[in-house]
Symmetry: none
Subunit: 194 residues, 4 copies
């Protein structure tokens, strides 16, 4: 019973991801999501208080899952450079595996962060913390030079983030996560000829 409820909620979320990916949040109709999910319009409101909350749920769920998976996988990676590569890989793999989810994230997430705030911001902070701590460890180990860690974190995140956006806009089909290695190399060693 409880399971079935969770199932249907997920069914709606998946439908919403597809719909938002196709038209964007504001150009998506609740009735469209309902149809896509194979339920009546009103059913949506048994599981979500508002259209707005569906979007939040997408973000929350996806971020939760991503952070959980990442922390698990990163446990076994100690070397800072390897960890950065693993982070990039996980990030790219996660979004690369679901183009619709990636679209919703890249297109609607900033909107959400700026205008809605809510929980999302704190979830994201957790992710930034993971990157930052990796960099700090690298600096303690003298693997990385003393660039302000928060600053370096943003640069690294910016690189990854742009790879995702670029992949979404590209017409070519390629495995997004395969860029993780050279991205990390570029971040760590720079563009300069040694």
């Amino acid at each position: 019973m409880k399971l079935k409820k969770e199932e249907k909620k997920n069914q709606i979320i998946q439908a919403a991801i597809r719909t938002f990916a196709k038209n964007g949040y504001f150009n998506s109709r609740v009735s469209e999501i309902a149809k896509e999910a194979g339920v009546a319009d009103g059913t949506i409101y048994i599981y979500f208080k508002s259209k707005d909350e569906i979007l939040s749920a997408i973000f929350d769920e996806a971020l939760d899952k991503f952070v959980a998976v990442s922390e698990e996988r990163l446990k076994s990676v100690a070397d800072p450079i390897e960890r950065l590569e693993a982070i990039a890989f996980l990030h790219l793999q996660y979004l690369g595996a679901n183009r619709d989810l990636a679209t919703v994230f890249q297109i609607e997430f900033r909107h959400n962060i700026v205008f809605m705030e809510k929980f999302t911001r704190s979830k994201l902070r957790e992710y930034f913390r993971i990157i930052r701590e990796t960099i700090e460890v690298g600096q303690q180990k003298k693997v990385f030079r003393n660039l302000e860690p928060k600053f370096a974190t943003k640069l690294f995140f910016g690189m990854i983030d742009e790879m995702v956006t670029s992949w979404l806009l590209s017409k070519k089909e390629y495995k997004l996560e395969k860029t993780a290695k050279s991205l990390t190399r570029a971040f760590v060693f720079g563009l300069a000829e040694c």
Copy 2:
């Protein structure tokens, strides 16, 4: 006469930038823009075909101006690393000078790119080309190693882009462009301890 027309059009654009920055495109009302611009609702439609076109005009104008200014300034900078720094500086300075414009860009631009396409994409391509050519020149001069130029371009853009977003979300007031130097250094020489 013509000038006056241009003036009023600009007046509306500035009002729209403020309004969109405050609430986002979809949560802004045309009547709100009109009030902010000090004109009647209908007047908007003498200068723009639709609400949508106001947003496009903001992007087009801002990009035009930015590319024009940038190309001018970059003429005198030959060294690839200095050019990259100048590009970053100009990008950050341009958006850093107008928080509202920056907000509209960071929040609504991707939406526009994905769902509206139009001219904007080509304007952006021009900007990417400027970065890419700088990198290619650097590679010919053996200053940069042979990383795929388009790939490197995205990484560099991603770094800058994230700096802007971060600045917008930050409560601290700081000159956005002052990060250009260390951003470029990080991009060129990497995070690794030499």
Copy 3:
């Protein structure tokens, strides 16, 4: 078995009275009544055909009970003035004993009478007849003067009715029925100084 059914039906009616009293008929939800009654939404529809019918049932039951009680009590009162006072007393006592029921009656009853008609009207007519006949008897006995009986009936009813409404709106707690005596005196002897 039958008893149990009657019991649950009553349980729902009592819940509906409380709910309607709180928010009015149109602003009350069937699900709210169900929760208040401690049953499932669907259960309501085993006992009532529609939300509308619950309201009708409240009126019918309350009127039935009131008329039955009144006729019983009035049997032993012969004197017209005493009868009028008894009627007022019973009316005020009945509604004064249950503020929620009184609220539903004063607030929703006219609506029902005008837009739904149904049985209610005839039940009410029976009550008006009781008053009227008392007045007619009084006139035959030369206790009352020859005012048109139906007209006098309305006046008397209007007085009582307004006492109830006023009591509902009042913040003071007082026994509603204690006004029966002076109300009747006022009706019979008027406001004039003898």
Copy 4:
């Protein structure tokens, strides 16, 4: 210009009165009012913030007008009994002249008073005060006996109010205000044979 606006607002109010009278407030659709008024649905919302506010406006306007007219007419009537008769006459005449307005008042007004409160209550209080003061003057002049004035006021109001309701439900067409005289006589001298 201003006049025209006032005119259209009134046009909508009149349409709303007809619509509410026909089906009651909750069973009336805003679109129905719009059609009846010969305007688009959206136009309603230029003049009123909500459906609710239309109802309030009906009450406020009608009460304002009634109190204003009444105070004017009552100026020249000094004798308490004549004043009471004049009050009853004005009340009955006012509602008797517009069956739809009367319907809305008798059917929706209590709802409004109990669940919405707002200004309406204070407007009504003013009317009650006029009656009460007349009674008090009558008592000082020893025309009336010493019944609690507030209590007497309610009784008088209740009589009038019931005459209106009865007239609405009646199928017979008659001048409502013609009952003012005998109503007042009944109130003042009672039903008893002298």
